[in-house]
Each structure stands twice: as structure tokens, then as C-alpha cells.
């Protein structure tokens, strides 16, 4: 601790350089935080996916519907415990920017297939009994100030026009990751009002009696509908969610690439700043060695400088990233679970320290190896 004062005054001697180096860490860690948040948002569906649920969709594309009649066929298959379905609606509230995922659900089995959503029985009953009823998630309620009993108009994009709904429930969930901006309404209402695609659903979700049977059931379903006008593609909910996330590219590779470039640049910037600082202090380092500072303690002091820069810059960057994510999904619904997890903050801080250590090691070793006589001769 008694040496920290030396580290501190050394950092203060070139304030602009210190500020810029800290700024480099801040920008890099802010970017890291945002990228991790985007990755988390895109893969949140994968994380909360049930192992015992299969998603059945049209083999051609997710946007192509499936016949409603498939429901009973799937339900009667061996090892299928329950079947529900949903259809993407794609509406927005008042303005296009007020978009959040909204879809029509099956009121008979949806709650049984997704027991992790917590909805009071009375509210569910009110929803089922009101053809225009809807259930919203807490983020939607909070953002738009909706409460139970409110009348909410949505503008349709697939089926255009104004669709009126009554808020009958605000769901809760067993896991925080499941509480994302969502809006559910009755399939029957959609079916009655829409002018086309009648008698179809967007996708089915089949709950199997045992996760061990999931693969076999998926094959059975796809075999059953092969060579039909609407062939199916059945996969586990986790695969479905992962595939959905990958529709916009290999996010992991993208984030890794951007992160690598940023951190490599950070190493160069910080390494250069520290090398310059050490070069400027050659005589001082020699004097410190002269009065008894060991090579190891000189190494430690330079490394401490580098790690302090990394810690300050990293902490600021991550704090800004956290603040940014707290302000909510900037895409208006594309990244519904826009959240920077605590473990990612810890990982980011560890990465910042690692970058600081890597950037500092060469200048620190240079300072450590400095020969007193040579250094003093240069003065």
C-alpha cells in the first residue's frame, strides 16, 4: 500500500496520456459490455428453452404457416403429452418504433405447455373469457404504462388495420430471463378477424412425456407430414431458439472478431503509452534501483500502473455499458432480453485486467532489466 502513492503520482504526471489510455479501456469495455448484452439477448431463448418441448414449423420457412389440423394429429402421437400453438402477429403500438413481440396463442393448452409463466387463475380466466383479451409482460406494462383493464390498440403489419385488445393479465415468470417484452392474445380473435391464412397457425409446440423421447418424436412428426403440402421441421426448443438467433449470422464469431480487434488495439495503445512513460523515467528508475528498489519491485510498480489504468478504464466502461443496457432495448423489441449479466461484468473486468497485464509486461520487464550504470549515463 505504501508504494501505491508512487503509482498514483506517476499516473498523474501526464494527465492527458493517462486519460486517453483510460479512455481506450473505457471504450473497449463499453463495447464488450454492449456486445455481450446483444449476444445474451439473442441467445436468451436458448437459455430458457425447455428440454421437453419440440417446436414444429413449416420446413420451407418460419414465416410459412402450418394447417390447424396438424394439432390433433400431433397430439395423438406416442409420447406427446400436450400440444399448443401460436401465430406471429407483428403489430405495433401507435408508432412503428413502439414494437414488441406479439402473437396469438392457443388458450386451451398454452399454459400447460409453458408452466414457468406465472399467471393468477382469475386473470387467466378473465383472459380466456374475453375474446379481445391479452396478456402482457411486465416490461411492456412498464414501458407503455399499461395496466389490467386498459384498452390497447395495435396496428397490424401482416393483417393491417387497428386491432383492439383488453389487458387481462400481466404475467410473471420463474426465471428473470423469461420476463421479456411480450404481448399475447387469443388465437380465436385473430382467426375471426384476419382476411387470409385462415385455418393455419405459425408453429406448434409439442411437449413430450420424457426429454429422452424428444428426438424420436421429432422424427415421427416430420415423417408423418412428409410429402404433404406443408412439410414440417421439428426440433427441440433449444435448437429452434439457437437457429432463430443465428438467422442474423454467427453472433459468437462476430463478437469474438470485434472483441479481438478491439483488445489487440488496446494492447498496442496501452503498451505504447507505458513504454513511453518508462522511457521518460529511465533516470528515475535508475535512482530508485540505486536506493535499493529491487528489479522485482520495479517490475511490480510498472505492472501496477498498467493494471490501475486497466481497472479504472475497465470499470468505467463496464459501468457505462450497464447504464446503457438499463435504459432498455435500443432496437424497440428486436433484443427483448437486453440485459448485461453480472457474470459478464466480472468477465469483462477480468479481461480488462488481463489486457492491462499483457500491455504492461514488456515495458515492465524493460524497466526491470534496466542497468543502473547505463541508465545514469544517459542522463
Amino acid at each position: 500500500m505504501k508504494y501505491f502513492h508512487i503509482v498514483f503520482v506517476n499516473l498523474r504526471r501526464k494527465k492527458l496520456r493517462t486519460a486517453l489510455t483510460i479512455g481506450s479501456f473505457t471504450v473497449a469495455l463499453f463495447l464488450f459490455g454492449v456486445l455481450v448484452t446483444i449476444k445474451t439477448a439473442l441467445s436468451s431463448g436458448v437459455d430458457v428453452a425447455g428440454a421437453d418441448r419440440l417446436v414444429v414449423r413449416n420446413r420451407i420457412s418460419l414465416i410459412m404457416p402450418l394447417p390447424y389440423s396438424y394439432r390433433d394429429v400431433i397430439r395423438q402421437m406416442p409420447n406427446v403429452a400436450e400440444v399448443t400453438f401460436a401465430t406471429w402477429f407483428g403489430g405495433y403500438y401507435q408508432d412503428m418504433k413502439n414494437f414488441f413481440p406479439n402473437y396469438a396463442i392457443d388458450t386451451e393448452a398454452y399454459r400447460k405447455v409453458y408452466p414457468e409463466y406465472i399467471i393468477p387463475d382469475a386473470d387467466w380466466k378473465a383472459f380466456v373469457e374475453d375474446r379481445q383479451g391479452c396478456i402482457i409482460s411486465p416490461p411492456v406494462a412498464k414501458k407503455y404504462g399499461f395496466k389490467i383493464g386498459d384498452r390497447v390498440p395495435l396496428q397490424g403489419t401482416v393483417w393491417t388495420g387497428t386491432w383492439e385488445f383488453n389487458v387481462r393479465a400481466i404475467y410473471d415468470a420463474q426465471r428473470e430471463e423469461m420476463i421479456t417484452p411480450e404481448f399475447w392474445f387469443q388465437y380465436k380473435y385473430l382467426e375471426e378477424q384476419r382476411p387470409f391464412y385462415k385455418g393455419t397457425v405459425g408453429w406448434y409446440v409439442a411437449k413430450v412425456d420424457d426429454p429422452a423421447n424428444a428426438v424420436a418424436v421429432a422424427k415421427t412428426i416430420d415423417d408423418r407430414f412428409s410429402n404433404s403440402p406443408s412439410e414440417t421441421k421439428t426440433e427441440t426448443e433449444k435448437s429452434f431458439a439457437a437457429g432463430f438467433a443465428n438467422q442474423i449470422g454467427n453472433i459468437r464469431l462476430l463478437i469474438l472478431s470485434i472483441g479481438s480487434v478491439v483488445f489487440f488495439t488496446l494492447l498496442l495503445v496501452t503498451g505504447n503509452a507505458l513504454a513511453t512513460a518508462v522511457r521518460e523515467r529511465t533516470a528515475e528508475i535508475a535512482v530508485m534501483k540505486t536506493v535499493g528498489f529491487t528489479d522485482a519491485s520495479i517490475l511490480g510498480l510498472v505492472m501496477a500502473e498498467s493494471l490501475t489504468l486497466a481497472a479504472i478504464g475497465g470499470a468505467i466502461g463496464l459501468a457505462l455499458a450497464k447504464l446503457f443496457t438499463l435504459s432498455g432495448d435500443p432496437t424497440g423489441g428486436m433484443l427483448s432480453f437486453f440485459y448485461l449479466p453480472t457474470d459478464s461484468l466480472a468477465l469483462g473486468f477480468a479481461l480488462a485486467l488481463a489486457a492491462g497485464a499483457a500491455a504492461g509486461i514488456i515495458p515492465a520487464v524493460g524497466a526491470m532489466r534496466l542497468k543502473i550504470v547505463d541508465a545514469l549515463r544517459r542522463v
Binding site: 505504501k2 508504494y3 502513492h5 508512487i6 503520482v9 506517476n10 498523474r12 504526471r13 533516470a283 528515475e284 535508475a286 535512482v287 530508485m288 534501483k289 540505486t290 536506493v291 535499493g292 528498489f293 529491487t294 528489479d295 522485482a296 519491485s297 543502473i372 550504470v373 545514469l376 542522463v379
Partner: protein, 248 residues
């Protein structure tokens, strides 16, 4: 009393057959050649000689800043050229105080913090360190400049802070490499007064490298170096500080 032969036993500093060579490309330069010297505790030795004669090199070897090519340097019975880097650093902090021509203070530290630097390596508590630093600064007459940064001090004051830094850990030996070379005569005399006082009153063994005959006359003994050899063993002269000559 300093001796140039190698017959002395029990001297504080015993230098035997000391060689130092440097390599410049393929060329080998003999800086010091077969040097022998014994110096007793409390002696004040001045090294004089032309540039390149090996004065600073000899000082560096005595202080353990450099290693000899051959021969030995024993301080208080300890062969310092045999010490490893870590032990040598620890030994230096206990036994040696350095005073440089250009002061070499750390500009971002105050006078107090500069003087405290060697004490950070000790196990002294903060109040103990403070007491030692205050004593050292009082000794060089800078008790009222503790919070000043080097840029706020005159050259003479900076050198006094450097002296305080050199003596704060109470070393046995002071190595002064042209300490007045960058100062005017008045400031230089003040510095030499302090160095003389440290030798005479506090029993420090002082090695002074200088080009200035007036400064050298403050020493008990003046040794001349030329081409790496101690050529001349000048007559000893009692220490006579300016303060003693003309009391204020």
C-alpha cells in the same frame, strides 16, 4: 587513513586488484587496472582526474552499481561483487547513500516524499519514517521545504534534498559524484559543508568525485586517477569546512 597498497586489514573498504573493462564493439577498453585501496570508517576521500579516467566507474563499483571485471571490493568484510541482484539491492539500501551531480530527484514527489523513498523499503512504520525524514531534512536545513516539489526549489536546495535522501537510511558510506558540478560557488560550498559535516560529525565514510580542486581540498585525502590507475596519493589535509573557517 587511506592506503593504496594491499596490506591493510580490517579497513571499511578494501579494494584488491580491481579491473574494469568495457567493450565497445570489438574494442576492449580498460577503465580501471589493478587498483588497490583501503579506506577506514569516517574517512573523506576525493577522487580527481581527467574525464574518462575511471572516477565514476570506481564509485559505481564501490556502490555495487556495477560489477568488476576482475578483483574484489569488500565493504565491512562483505564481498559485494559476490552478491546477487536482490541481495545487492538490499545491501545498497543499508550501506550506501548516493549523491548525483544532477540531483536526480523524482519531480512528481515532494521533498519529503523524495527523501522517504529509501525508507519505503524498510519495515519502518509511517510515524517512524516521518521522524527519520524530518531529521534528515532538518540536517540539511530544509525543514521548511518538506512539501515543495523539486521544481519549486533552487539547485542548491534540490541537492540538499538529494543529500537528505542519501542519508535518511543512515548508510555507512556516501558516494558523491560531482555533487557541486551543477551549482554556483556559494551553493556548492553549502553542499560541501554538509558533506564535510556528515563525515566529521556523523562518521560517514565519504567518496567524492570532483573536477574542482577547491572541492577536493575539503577531503582528508585526494586520490588522482589517470587511465584507470591511482597514480598519486596526495597528502592528507584536515577537513576545514567553510562554516568552521568563517563562523556565522
Amino acid at each position: 587513513m587511506a592506503r593504496l597498497d594491499s596490506g591493510g586489514k580490517g579497513a571499511l573498504v578494501e579494494i584488491r586488484n580491481l579491473d574494469k573493462k568495457y567493450h565497445r564493439g570489438e574494442e576492449e577498453i580498460d577503465v580501471l587496472r589493478g587498483l588497490n585501496l583501503d579506506v577506514e570508517q569516517g574517512e573523506f576521500i576525493a577522487f580527481m582526474g581527467p574525464s574518462g579516467s575511471g572516477k565514476t566507474t570506481l564509485l559505481n563499483l564501490i556502490g555495487g552499481l556495477d560489477a568488476p571485471s576482475a578483483g574484489s571490493v569488500r565493504i565491512a568484510g562483505e564481498e559485494i561483487s559476490a552478491l546477487s541482484g536482490r541481495k545487492l539491492a538490499a545491501w545498497r539500501s543499508r550501506h550506501i547513500g548516493f549523491i548525483f551531480q544532477m540531483y536526480n530527484l523524482i519531480p512528481v514527489l515532494t521533498a519529503f516524499q523524495n527523501v522517504q523513498l529509501p525508507l519505503l523499503l524498510t519495515g519502518l512504520s509511517k510515524p517512524e519514517r516521518r521522524r527519520h525524514v524530518d531529521d534528515a531534512l532538518a540536517l540539511v536545513g530544509l525543514s521548511d521545504r518538506t512539501r515543495h516539489y523539486p521544481r519549486q526549489l533552487s539547485g542548491g536546495q534540490e541537492q540538499r534534498v538529494a543529500i537528505a535522501r542519501a542519508i535518511v537510511a543512515d548508510p555507512t558510506i556516501l558516494l558523491c559524484d560531482e555533487p557541486t558540478g551543477d551549482l554556483d560557488r556559494a551553493s556548492g560550498d553549502e553542499i560541501l559543508d554538509i558533506i564535510g559535516k556528515l563525515s566529521k560529525e556523523f562518521g560517514k565514510t565519504v567518496f567524492l568525485v570532483t573536477h574542482d580542486p577547491v572541492a577536493a581540498k575539503r577531503a582528508d585525502t585526494i586520490l588522482h586517477l589517470d587511465k584507470g590507475t591511482l597514480l598519486e596519493y596526495a597528502a592528507e589535509k584536515p577537513i576545514a569546512s567553510k562554516a568552521e573557517e568563517s563562523p556565522r
